[in-house]
C-alpha cells in the first residue's frame, strides 16, 4: 500500500497522497498519517492516484475527522475523480469535508 505523506516547511500543512485503491487495507497506514496532529495541523488528502474507494474508506475519513476534533478538523479532499466525488456526495460527506 502506498500512502505518501509530505509536510509544508512550517509543518502545519500535511499532504497525504492516497493509494490507487483506498479501502480497508490502507487502514493502519492512513491512521498513522494523523496520529499526532499538531495544534495548527491542516490536512490535504490528495486523491489524484485514487481510482476506487469503498465505504470503509468513508469510515476512515469519518474517524479522521473525529480524531481531529470533528467540526474543528481542517481536512480538504482534492483531485477527486467523478466517481469518488459521487460516492462522497451520496453519503453527504461534502457537508463534512471540503471536497474539490
Amino acid at each position: 500500500m502506498a500512502i505518501s505523506v509530505s509536510k509544508s516547511d512550517d509543518g502545519n500543512t500535511v499532504t497525504v497522497k492516497l493509494p490507487n485503491e483506498f479501502d480497508f487495507r490502507a487502514h493502519k497506514e492512513f491512521r498513522d498519517t494523523h496520529k499526532n496532529p499538531g495544534t495548527n495541523a491542516r490536512y490535504i488528502l490528495d486523491f489524484s492516484l485514487t481510482e476506487h474507494m469503498d465505504s470503509s474508506a468513508l469510515g476512515m475519513l469519518l474517524l479522521m475527522r473525529e480524531e481531529l476534533g470533528n467540526d474543528n478538523a481542517r481536512v480538504r479532499l482534492i483531485n477527486c475523480r467523478d466517481n469518488i466525488k459521487s460516492l462522497l456526495e451520496m453519503a453527504s460527506f461534502h457537508q463534512l469535508f471540503d471536497v474539490a
Binding site: 465505504s55 476512515m60 474517524l63 466517481n83 451520496m90 453519503a91 453527504s92
Partner: protein, 585 residues
C-alpha cells in the same frame, strides 16, 4: 493469553533448555559401546536409558519417552532399521530424533538409515565432540518442533471454540435479523454474504395497516461490529414497524441508536421505504446507498432515479440528520430496485468496476418488468466473469402489485406478559404541534394492545384508529377534499397540500380521542370516540353504499363498517363513534 505467552517463548527456542526433557536412549548389543555412551551423555546432563536390541528399544521408548535415541544397526532379535521404523511409527506426529551409530561404511546401508526414518548417522570410530554437537542440534530441533506443535494444538482448540461460538452467534443473529416477510411473492432478492456476518442487511415487514416497510443497509466493513449494529437495526425496525411508526420516525430512531453504539468509523448506508396498503404510494428515505430505481411497468423504462441526499445512519446526530422523504405514486406492477455498493463496484478481471452507468444501461433496453431482475443479475455476472466477489452483493426488487401481495400472517406476536387493566378509559387531546410532531395512532395502538388478547387484533385496532384519526385531521381539522386523491399523481399532491395546511393551521384546531374498554365473557368491547374542530358534514343519508360510490378515497367507511359492531357519526358530523367487539383467539 496462553498463545501470547507461547509466542514470547519463541525467542528462547534457539538455545537448548538444559532443565527439561533431556533423556537419551542408547540402543546397542555391545556392552562396552553402551557404557562409553552412557558415561558421555550422563556427564552432559542426560538421564540415560539403555536397550540391548531393537525389541527392547521399542519397549524403553514407550516407557521413558526419550528426547534422543542413539541406534546401532546390527543387533539380535530386531535390528536398528526395523526398530527405527517401529519407533517413528509409534511417535506419530512427535519428533524423536534418532542418530545411527554404526561400523557400516557401505553408502547404500547408510542411506537406508535415513530412509527408515533416522535423522542422522555417524560411523565408528566417531568423534565425541561431533556426536555431542549432533545431539545438541537435533535436540534443539525437536524442542522447536514441540513448541510449534503445542502452539498449533492450542490454536486448533481456540479455532474450534471460536467456530462453535460463531455458529451460536450466527444462530442468535439470524433469529434477531430475520427475514421478516421477504418471502412474499412480490419481493425478489439476492443476498450473497462475504463473511459469516455480512455487511449488508435486508429487512421487510408488513405494517399494521397492510402496507410494506423495507430496509436495505450496507455497513462500512464486516464482522462483529457490523453484526452488533445490524442486530439493533433489525430489532428497532421490526418493533417500530409493528407499532405503525412512519418512515421518518424509523430513520430517526435508527440513527440515534447507531450513533450511540457504533464507533465513528462504522455506519450504515441505508434506504428505508414504505409502500402503502394499496401499493400505490411509495415513501422513501435515502441515506448514502446508490440510486434507487423505479421501473415503469407500462412504459418499460425508468420513471425515477432517486439519489441520496442524506447522511448514512450513524454518522451525525439526529439534529443534523435530514429526514427528507421522497414520495412517489406507483403504477400497478411498477418495480422498485434497491441494491448495495457490491453491484456497482463488482469488478471484472481487469479490475474495472461495473459502475452505475452500466447498471442504468440494463434498464434502457425496453425489457418487460418480469424480465428485469434476472436481466440485471445476468449482466453483472457476465461482467464479473471469473473474478472473485470482493464485496457483499445485494439486489432487491419489489413489485408494486397489490393483487400479488398475499395476506401475511403474523405468527410471532406476543401478548402482554404482565396483567393489564381490562376495564378502563382514557382520553387524549391533540393540537397543532401534536399533529406535526407526534404519531398518536402508534402510541394508542401500542397502549391498547397491551390488553391481554387484544394483541391478536392489533391490525384491526391500528386500522380503526388510523382511519378515524386521519379522517378527523384531513377532512375535519384541515378540511381537505379527498377527491384530489383520485387524480393522477393525486396522492403526492394531497400530501403536499396536507403539509402546507398543517403549517398554516391556527391554534383552535383540535382532535379529541377517547377510548373506553370493557371486558366481556369472551373478549371485550372497545369504544372509540373521535371529535375534531372541523365543520362536520351531513351524515343523515350515509349508508354502506356511500364509500363505494366515492371510490378509493372513501374506502375508510366500508372498511370500518365491516370491522366494527357500530360506526356512526354524531354532532355536526365532527364526531365519529366506533365500537369494536373482539373475541379471544
Amino acid at each position: 493469553m496462553s498463545i501470547a505467552r507461547k509466542i514470547n517463548d519463541q525467542q528462547h527456542l534457539f538455545s537448548v533448555d538444559d532443565s527439561v526433557n533431556k533423556r537419551a536412549l542408547i540402543v546397542d548389543d555391545d556392552a562396552v559401546n553402551r557404557m562409553i555412551l552412557e558415561g558421555m551423555l550422563a556427564n552432559s546432563g542426560f538421564e540415560v536409558f539403555s536397550a540391548e536390541d531393537g525389541q527392547q528399544a521399542i519397549q524403553k521408548f514407550i516407557d521413558h519417552d526419550p528426547s534422543v535415541i542413539l541406534m546401532d544397526i546390527v543387533m539380535p532379535v530386531l535390528d536398528g532399521y526395523q526398530a527405527t521404523e517401529k519407533i517413528k511409527q509409534l511417535a506419530g506426529e512427535r519428533f524423536v530424533p534418532i542418530i545411527f551409530l554404526t561400523s557400516v561404511t557401505n553408502e547404500d546401508e547408510l542411506a537406508k538409515c535415513v530412509k527408515v526414518g533416522g535423522d542422522d548417522f555417524l560411523t565408528r570410530p566417531y568423534s565425541q565432540v561431533i556426536l555431542m554437537a549432533k545431539i545438541e542440534a537435533l535436540t534443539r530441533l525437536s524442542q522447536l518442533y514441540r513448541t510449534i506443535q503445542d502452539q498449533r494444538d492450542e490454536i486448533d482448540v481456540h479455532n474450534e471454540h471460536m467456530f462453535r461460538e460463531q455458529k451460536v452467534a450466527k444462530k442468535i443473529f439470524s433469529n434477531v435479523v430475520h427475514e421478516g416477510c421477504l418471502d412474499m411473492p412480490i419481493i425478489k432478492y439476492m443476498l450473497s454474504p462475504l463473511s459469516i456476518f455480512n455487511g449488508d442487511i435486508l429487512l421487510a415487514a408488513r405494517t399494521p395497516s397492510g402496507g410494506l416497510n423495507v430496509l436495505l443497509g450496507d455497513a462500512t466493513g464486516h464482522g462483529l461490529p457490523v453484526a452488533i449494529g445490524a442486530v439493533s437495526v433489525s430489532d428497532l425496525f421490526y418493533s417500530l414497524t409493528e407499532n405503525g411508526a412512519t418512515v421518518d420516525e424509523i430513520v430517526l430512531e435508527l440513527n440515534s441508536k447507531l450513533k450511540a453504539i457504533l464507533p465513528p468509523e462504522f455506519f450504515f448506508c441505508a434506504c428505508v421505504l414504505n409502500i402503502s396498503n394499496d401499493f400505490r404510494l411509495l415513501t422513501l428515505w435515502h441515506g448514502g446507498l446508490p440510486e434507487v430505481l423505479i421501473y415503469s411497468a407500462e412504459d418499460r423504462k425508468l420513471s425515477h432515479v432517486i439519489r441520496s441526499t442524506n447522511f448514512p445512519l450513524g454518522v451525525v446526530d439526529n439534529k443534523l440528520l435530514k429526514t427528507d422523504l421522497h414520495i412517489f405514486d406507483l403504477g400497478k406492477g411498477d418495480r422498485i430496485y434497491l441494491y448495495s455498493y457490491g453491484i456497482t463496484e463488482a469488478k471484472n478481471i481487469k479490475n474495472e468496476q461495473f459502475t452505475d452507468e452500466r447498471l442504468l444501461e440494463c434498464f434502457n433496453e425496453g425489457k418487460s418488468v418480469d424480465e428485469m431482475f434476472d436481466h440485471v443479475l445476468s449482466r453483472v455476472n457476465a461482467f464479473r466473469g471469473e473474478q472473485e466477489q470482493s464485496d457483499d452483493l445485494t439486489f432487491l426488487e419489489i413489485n408494486a402489485d397489490v393483487d400479488e401481495a398475499v395476506e401475511f400472517s403474523e405468527s410471532h406476536l406476543t401478548a402482554a406478559i404482565l396483567p393489564y387493566p381490562r376495564d378502563w378509559g382514557m382520553s387524549m387531546n391533540l393540537t397543532k404541534q401534536d399533529f406535526i410532531e407526534t404519531n398518536p395512532v402508534s402510541i394508542l395502538t401500542k397502549f391498547t394492545t397491551q390488553v391481554d388478547g387484544l394483541m391478536q387484533h392489533r391490525e384491526n385496532i391500528f386500522i380503526i384508529l388510523s382511519e378515524l384519526y386521519n379522517n378527523a385531521l384531513d377532512h375535519g381539522v384541515l378540511d381537505l377534499d379527498s377527491t384530489i386523491k383520485t387524480e393522477k399523481d393525486g396522492f403526492t399532491k394531497f400530501l403536499m397540500m396536507r403539509h402546507e395546511k398543517l403549517l398554516e393551521l391556527d391554534n383552535h384546531g383540535y382532535i379529541n380521542i377517547t377510548l373506553e374498554h370493557s371486558p366481556t365473557a369472551e373478549g371485550g368491547e372497545l369504544l372509540v370516540h373521535v371529535e375534531d374542530s372541523g365543520k362536520g358534514f351531513d351524515y343523515s343519508a350515509m349508508d354502506a353504499d356511500m364509500g363505494l360510490k366515492l371510490g378509493f378515497s372513501g374506502r375508510g367507511y366500508p372498511l370500518l363498517k365491516s370491522l366494527c359492531k357500530e360506526y356512526r357519526y354524531a354532532g355536526a358530523g365532527n364526531i365519529a363513534i366506533v365500537t369494536y367487539e373482539w373475541f379471544k383467539k
